[in-house]
Symmetry: C2
Subunit: 98 residues, 2 copies
């Protein structure tokens, strides 16, 4: 777990909002064709945030590098979901170590 | 509470170590002349970390800007202590919001 990378990733309101939206995908992305268990399509995240594809793509890359989310390829689509194990381990570490 | 600034401050191992050391000041700084309740002298933090005054000073400034620590002036000395209220509020916010 790269604590520095996780804090850097979380030091941005848009990236925190992405993690929030992916926490309850049914609430925001219920119209997705692919099952939400595989993750949420980047395009739907763009729409939810009302931000451009390139902006959201950059934020997703930072979150993925920090291992806070992972991606799953279905045909031409990339689906993104939270890495709950990393998030839980990070929170545990912070609760103990801060 | 500036969540962005707090995450940026925490995205560095030296700054996390400073916060750790200030958590149990008696363990590391028991030879300080001023009462530890007022905080720990920057010079003793430099010595504990084996880092230069200017390096530690820059890290302390980042922590202070994020409101994770506060300083108290005694004559020519600056004493630093944790802002437990901010740290607790941040942990609470993260536990709920992440």
């Amino acid at each position: 777990m790269d604590i520095d990378a996780i804090h850097k990733a979380l030091a941005n309101p848009v990236r925190r909002e992405i993690l929030q939206a992916l926490k309850t995908p049914k609430q925001y992305f219920s119209d997705q064709v692919h099952p939400l268990e595989f993750g949420v399509c980047a395009g739907l995240i763009d729409r939810h945030l009302a931000l451009s594809q390139s902006t959201v793509s950059a934020h997703l890359a930072v979150l993925q590098k920090a291992d806070l989310i992972s991606s799953y390829k279905v045909g031409q689509w990339s689906l993104f979901k939270r890495n709950e194990a990393t998030i839980a381990a990070f929170l545990e570490q912070l609760q103990q170590g801060l």
